[in-house]
Amino acid sequence: MKAKTIEELIADYCAGTLSAKEAARLHRYLRENPEAERMFRDAREVHSVLRSAKVAGGTDVREAERRFRALLARRSRRARAIRWLGGGVAAAAVIVAVLMMAHPDSTLRQEPVVEMAGLSRIAPGEVKATLSDESGRAVEITSESASRLVTPDGTVLVNDSLGGLRYDRSGTADEVARTQTLTVPVGGEYRFTLADGSQVWVNSASEVRFPTRFTGDSREIYMSGEIYIEVARDEARPFIVHAGDKSVRVLGTKFNLTAYPDENEVVTTLVEGSVEFCDGDKCVPVRPGEQVVLDETTGRMETREVDVSLYTSWASGTFEYEQMGLEAIARQLTRWYDVRFEFDAPEFRDHPFTGVVKRNQTLDEVLRLIEKTTNVSFEIVDRTVHVKRTEDAGTISRP
């Protein structure tokens, strides 16, 4: 088959009919040819404006509202049936499907009645962070912080209710670049925008150190924990993320970096673009859809192909697990719900779980989901979750 021309590829992109392979090819081509990229942007701009105008003119608001009412009525009937799942319908559908595959007879089995007093009170984490300057003076940020924020070092920052702190819109142009540190506690998450427009999602128990303005030939930040970052494109100034003596060097891309001190692995997952992961001087390239795992004890680096959404979903509000061991899941939940896990039944440490969990659910709801597809029961004492075999838990808590 003859390869498509650039015009055909752009036309198919506009129509949403481009295959994944062609998309990758077009993307690479645009990245390598500024002229083609400009053409792409021009076409997309005009196409979008025309489409918007057409859609605005052709929208029947009254009909839409009727449809909405009908949909809402149908959902509230259904919602009563699936309320036990919490969360949205999409998450529910996935979990149910997984359930059926794992336990075809699950509907027949009696659910163990486990008393989980106190569990439902453990709320999910929330938007919060602490911003501190070089002298260590700190200011707390939550989703309710004001839209303008003055930091202890006198920098005036724009705080966008959706986008978080925006260094790219803050009036720091005439000031010297200062170093600030954004710390997200256990049970928190935070998203903000760096001075170059790059967006950073910071997960629980993580820290990012960065300049209020980027000067010099490269853009460098330092992190520990987990971040997902969408780097603003700037060929002239590479973007470097340091995690201890590891680093990731990029031009413009989206990737997830996990480097928690309590995890044995440093994991770089690339969504788009291209990056290089370096452990000291040892560097390997990472391509989109790939993940590089560095085992800190052996120093071995392994590149594998992964479903990137599993590793980046937290930034958009869900935890996605595919055959993930309970111990790894427990470490993640520990950071988000601020609890401790004890494996009273150690054989479950590697027990795989597949499913989708919304980060805004309570711990109770999340644990119940996991219980549905495994022989595991959770019991909570203060802020410690005990992981037990279902029968054990059943005998303990049965009145």
Partner: protein, 195 residues
Amino acid sequence: MENHEEAKTIETLLAAGDERCMNLLFAEYYRDLCAYAARYPLSAESVEDIVQNVFISFWENKRGRPFIGSVRSYLFGAVSKAALRWLRDEGKAYFEDIETHVDDFWESMFNREEEEAFEKLMEKLREAVEQLAEQPKRVVRSIIWEDKPYKLVAQEMGISVNSVKTYYVRALESLRKMLGDKYLILLILLSRKKV
């Protein structure tokens, strides 16, 4: 900026869990949100489905308690997120890294203050379409105003699908040139300054 009276009423009704809140939301934002979502490479139906779903989850999750922040920005942000999720889930290509630079421009287009600028831009575009040669003009009209797939346009015009696509993209390019940089860039700058 948004209409403050209206926004206040919406917030009050929402906090009270009063369904009339949704009547107002539809009247105030539905059309704009659809137009906003249409900037992504989505079909007309998916545009409406996405906005509908955003309204549903907004109502189900936010009613009955005070809303913090601006409802308007929240809805635009939610539509954008939902559209990106839809594209991802459907396996559709969307080059966020190449397209994001116009984000602010888009949101500002549906601000009341910018309405006039948007109208002017549309007027310019309509004029520019008129100036295209006969074939490309017909291609643009069929694809945009009549919402026809490339294949159908090709059949109707008795040319190959490839020619339709090539005509179309080249027409978009020359429209962009006719508009000149100053229009789009002016709007982008305008929206940047305001924030």
